[in-house]
Symmetry: C2
């Protein structure tokens, strides 16, 4: 049963129960040295330990589960060279159907291999957004598979919302809940859950300065577009969608932008002090906390670490 309006907390609870067999309940970690440095008490929800190495598994499982038996039989399709591709591929496998993944020809061979490893069929296209969309359309027409959008989809958003639900259920009261913003699926889900469970908490998004579509959209109240996307936080190069902008405008208290240098410094801090591998996108909320120490001093903050799929041969340090 598909969710056709902004997900309620009842929707999120139902989705969480339904996808539980297919996701990891990831740990919440703290670091006394990062608390000391930041002056805050930070609870990191570690989706780098999630299946396929990223929170995207939650949304993909939710959207796949929402399909009718007839739709499910025909398979699922998406275009992605990243975590969403692997998440859709594994979800299709879990629900015993086919996944068709359109990937640009310049996608890293390791991501291609991982996606094929889950049994997906890869369709290669030219590395342009237009080619991706045209190729996907052709695949959907030919196979009858259902397109699973990576974030502009209420079932996906309800899936991503289960991450903040686990965080808050484990930690309890928080003053602030933060997530990075790319397409806005995680931010939307995080905001919906936090509003329901912690009505007094602030919901704050974080975004790279050089891909600040969400920040400008939030401040102006209308959709703005990225003019640059040359951020190291490769998961955050995407623009908001119609659904996610709407939810963010209604449920997020503020968005903070951070520089590339701040992102790398925060990433290094998490690697060195917490001994866990996170992708650059994860470190954007911590970078925001460190940028504004007075604002966050003494606060209990929940931060969602989005994933750990990083090429260890191309590190920024």
């Amino acid at each position: 049963m598909k969710i056709t309006t902004i997900p309620t907390y009842e929707d999120i609870k139902r989705v969480h129960e339904a996808i539980a067999p297919y996701i990891n309940k990831t740990p919440v970690l703290t670091s006394s040295s990062i608390n000391k440095i930041s002056g805050a008490t930070i609870y990191f929800k570690c989706e780098n330990f999630q299946k396929v190495g990223a929170f995207k598994m939650r949304g993909a499982a939710s959207a796949t589960m929402a399909l009718s038996p007839e739709e499910l039989a025909k398979g699922v399709a998406t275009h992605s060279s990243g975590n969403h591709a692997q998440a859709v591929a594994l979800s299709a496998k879990n629900y015993q159907t086919k996944a068709y993944i359109v990937m640009p020809s310049n996608a890293p061979s390791i991501k291609r291999a991982a996606t094929e490893g889950y049994g997906a069929e890869i369709i290669t296209c030219e590395p342009t957004l237009e080619a991706r969309e045209t190729t996907l359309k052709a695949v959907v027409e030919k196979t009858g598979a259902t397109f699973l959008h990576p974030y502009n989809n209420y079932d996906v958003i309800a899936g991503q919302a289960t991450c903040a639900k686990e965080l808050i259920e484990e930690v309890g009261l928080l003053d602030v809940v933060m997530a990075p913003i790319g397409g806005g699926g995680l931010m939307s889900g995080t905001a919906l859950t936090t509003r329901a469970l912690l009505p007094n908490a602030k919901v704050i998004g974080a975004e790279p300065e050089v891909a600040d579509d969400a920040y400008r959209s939030f401040k102006s109240g209308t959709m703005q577009y990225n003019t640059r996307i040359d951020t190291i936080a490769d998961g955050l190069r995407t623009n908001l969608g119609e659904y996610t902008l709407d939810i963010i405008l209604k449920n997020v208290d503020d968005i903070i932008t951070v520089s590339e240098e701040e992102i790398v410094n925060a990433m290094r801090l998490i690697w060195e002090r917490m001994k866990i591998i996170i992708e650059p996108s994860c470190s954007v909320p911590l970078a925001a906390v460190l940028q504004q120490p007075e604002r966050f001093k003494g606060k209990k903050i929940g931060i969602i670490l989005t994933g750990g799929n990083v090429d260890v041969e191309g590190l920024p340090f």
Copy 2:
């Protein structure tokens, strides 16, 4: 009260209780993809999440705790440029006494700063073993501090033994328990605990081929010395001591040596699949398992991951 003969399991239990306030009970992690690749079921005891980022904290806490009030008042001393230095510094701080750490002038400034951060006094010397020992002797004579040897010390060995104790208490029956061998403190402690708790389990050490003093000592039954130490596993360049050789000869079933390439491959596998940061020494036992798949197929194996203090600017991939 110092332990003056090979630690009994009663000693190890007493030490564990005494040092508990000063150490983390580190998690045991598994990886379905590493299990699939190895054909075994592997339980990784994650001492990379230990205080100071390494198991050395256990031994240093144990040895500090064993001092008399008079000794404790005069402080503790050691020579080390690595994890033992930080562990002794933090232990001294915990027991409210002074630490004097002799460090070679070429020690990485980050390690020096970390050790000073715990309040230790650093005494710099020429980067030779002779200069380290001479300088340490002068420091001990001048201050009256007690020298805490990094491994040839029964209190240290009893401390390191608490790591396998936590692992076995959490996981239960294991067919094999493995640790890497440098000076042999962790291997000795691991062997003593495993013999006591799991008399039917095999205790297997793993060592780099290019620093195989323990392998050759084990096979010949007499102390052999490293002629080369140019291994990436920087924690394993040390030679066995008299106490650790004795315990290893009596309690270890086998030692496997692995190539540098096998070490790097196993390290990368843990980074990429488990999303945790480990130092190269940690990956030596997994490299041994992957080298001999038939031997370990279907076995339940406990492996101690020793630490996570690695320079992220100098990675081998």
